[in-house]
């Protein structure tokens, strides 16, 4: 197991290096000037700035410098935010995004598994039709619409109650997190619901469920002990990509709910060609996703005994 994890981590490092390299050269290929400023910049100031950020050197050399600094865990200083280190931006804002993302993922996975199991249990009856109808809406409507509707719903609720139960925007308490997390997780929840439903129905048709019935087990026991665990396996498989969808999709929701997450910096940096912030956030997100996918694969091994790390693989 240890050797397996080491191997996965090594290939993860290669993946991250690839992400960093592709982003670096892609970024430099984008037309535009990172030092463009609304203030008048004299040629002398400009030369000084270029020297300070190392832009006076040829791009391959800049790349090597970037790699050397990255290996030391240093992404440099932001171009647009004065004297702010990229590491500080990440350290300050990522915990916010991560908290929101984890909560959204809990909603998505919990809701998806529960609703998927429910629809399968009530197949071709009212709860099934209702949930599947809502699922189609949740899949097709973009998250900024739900974000707005969510705020509207909070407003209505608060005015109905006569006091402020949930804040409309901002960050700080659990109450701030609930609705944004729900909105953020909604699309993934809908996707997981559909996956869980088809997986449950597939398992229901298997020979071993027939065996369980022939043993005289109660429907309840069959459902929980035989059907559910086997049906969850495909859902766990897609959790890795689902984490990717949720963390990278957080930007819109963070914007609407005025949440000081990393997503905003991620997008702003690209718009302003803030070279160091682009590289820092991209490499950081890349590393995070690689780790999540590895973690999901390891968890999978605990749920399905058939998935074991064979000697030849490790």
């Amino acid at each position: 197991m240890g050797a397996y994890i080491a191997r996965r981590l090594l290939s993860g490092v290669i993946t991250i290096w690839f992400i960093a390299t592709a982003t670096f050269f892609g970024m430099h290929a984008v037309p535009g000037d990172p030092l463009l400023n609304d203030k008048a910049v004299t040629p002398e100031i400009r030369a000084n700035l270029e020297r300070a950020y190392g832009l006076d050197k040829p791009v391959p050399q800049q790349y090597l410098i970037f790699l050397k600094n990255m290996l030391q865990g240093d992404f440099g200083i932001s171009f647009t935010q004065q004297n702010r280190r990229v590491n500080d931006i990440i350290a300050e804002h990522f915990p916010v995004s991560a908290t929101l993302g984890v909560l959204a993922l809990l909603f998505a996975a919990g809701g998806g598994i529960m609703f998927g199991a429910l629809t399968a249990l009530f197949r071709s009856r009212m709860p099934d039709y209702l949930i599947m109808f809502l699922v189609i809406i949740a899949v097709s409507v973009p998250s900024f619409v739900f974000a707005g509707l969510g705020q509207l719903a909070i407003l209505r609720l608060n005015s109905l109650l006569g006091f402020s139960l949930l804040p409309v925007a901002g960050w700080g308490t659990v109450a701030h997190m609930l609705v944004p997390a729900l909105v953020l997780g909604l699309g993934t929840m809908a996707y997981l619901t559909r996956l869980m439903r088809s997986s449950m129905l597939e398992v229901a048709e298997t020979d071993y469920i027939r065996t369980a019935r022939a043993k005289g087990l109660t429907p309840r026991r069959i459902f929980f002990r035989h059907q559910l665990r086997n049906a969850i396996l495909p859902v766990v498989t897609v959790l890795g990509p689902a984490i990717a969808a949720i963390t990278t999709g957080g930007f819109v929701v963070e914007l609407v709910f005025a949440i000081p997450g990393l997503g905003r910096y991620f997008v702003q940096a690209v718009q302003q060609l803030d070279y160091t912030v682009i590289m820092g956030t991209t490499v950081f997100y890349g590393a995070f996703l690689v780790l999540m996918v590895i973690a999901v694969d390891i968890v999978y091994g605990f749920i399905d005994p058939r998935i074991q790390v064979s000697k030849s693989l490790s």
Binding site: T206, D207, Y208, R210, T211, A212, R213, A214, K215, G216, L217, T218, P219, R221, R225, H226, R229, N230, L233, I303, D304, P305, R306
Partner: protein, 338 residues
Amino acid sequence: MSEQPVLSVRDLEVEFDTFGGKVRAVRGVSYDVHAGETLAVVGESGCGKSVTVQALMGLIPTPPGRIVGGSARLMGRELIGLNQAQLNDVRGADMGMIFQDPMTSLNPTMRVGDQIAETLVVHRDISRDAALAEAVRLLERTRIPEAAQRARQYPFEFSGGMLQRVMISMSLACTPKLLIADEPTTALDVTIQDQVLELMQEIQREDHMAIVLITHDLGVVARMADRVAVMYAGEVVEYGSVDDIFYRSAHPYTEGLKEAMPDMHQHGKDRLEAIPGSPPDLFSPPPGCAYHPRCPHAMRICNRIGPSEYPVGDAHHASCWRLHEDAPTTASEDGHAG
């Protein structure tokens, strides 16, 4: 046989509603199985032999399936029409079932010991630890080596033959009166088949249980069965002792099946005789005897009116017009066939 049969099926009828119409899969099947006895149910694929036992186990998906009529009594207790809870009292406790493909018939994410113990926990007032200990004993009984270690393994760590032994241990957990084996050896290779059949016979001798063995392999029938029910198109066309079926068969379909069986001493025959044609479409079974389109002896009446059951010997009967008292004798039969 004066004693009460373990299983007594009478005029069982099962239908399936499909988009194409109503399929009459089982059309009035009757048979008895006594304690310590093996009844082999033989017939081609789709003749209703599996559906019959699944109906009495309550394993038919409803809808689309439906038991239209008839009765099935286990130790005198009517099974048809029982509700879910009543059925669960009987299933696994008084009747066990093993299936064709042991590789897919066990839960892949559950240790085999737990799967066996589960049956005991559900049907008996027994602790989990005691049930697990009993599971190991059951695995030993089906001669699985190192049973204690094996009980902690998952199905994917077993071979097909070993898994069928696990299935047998599981179905025997509550010492049922009746074991239903639905093509138990079809998915196994020949040497393993032999071991599994041997094991079933041995356990039957010890526990004196009744076995319903569904198969299309007449070799297995000859080896295992005391009685045989030959099924065709959802009906039992001939029923008798294993000797009746092999040496005194009275139905042309039984004859056809025997012709199609490979033989060690095929005098002068290079090819096996196949029964021409294919089984009838059960959406609309042919009028009269369902076998008449394929029957070499078909007479004028055969495509109009179905034959009734005619006794051939002691506890041996067949449904064929040739057994009617007015039927032409075999010698002159060719002249009247048409």
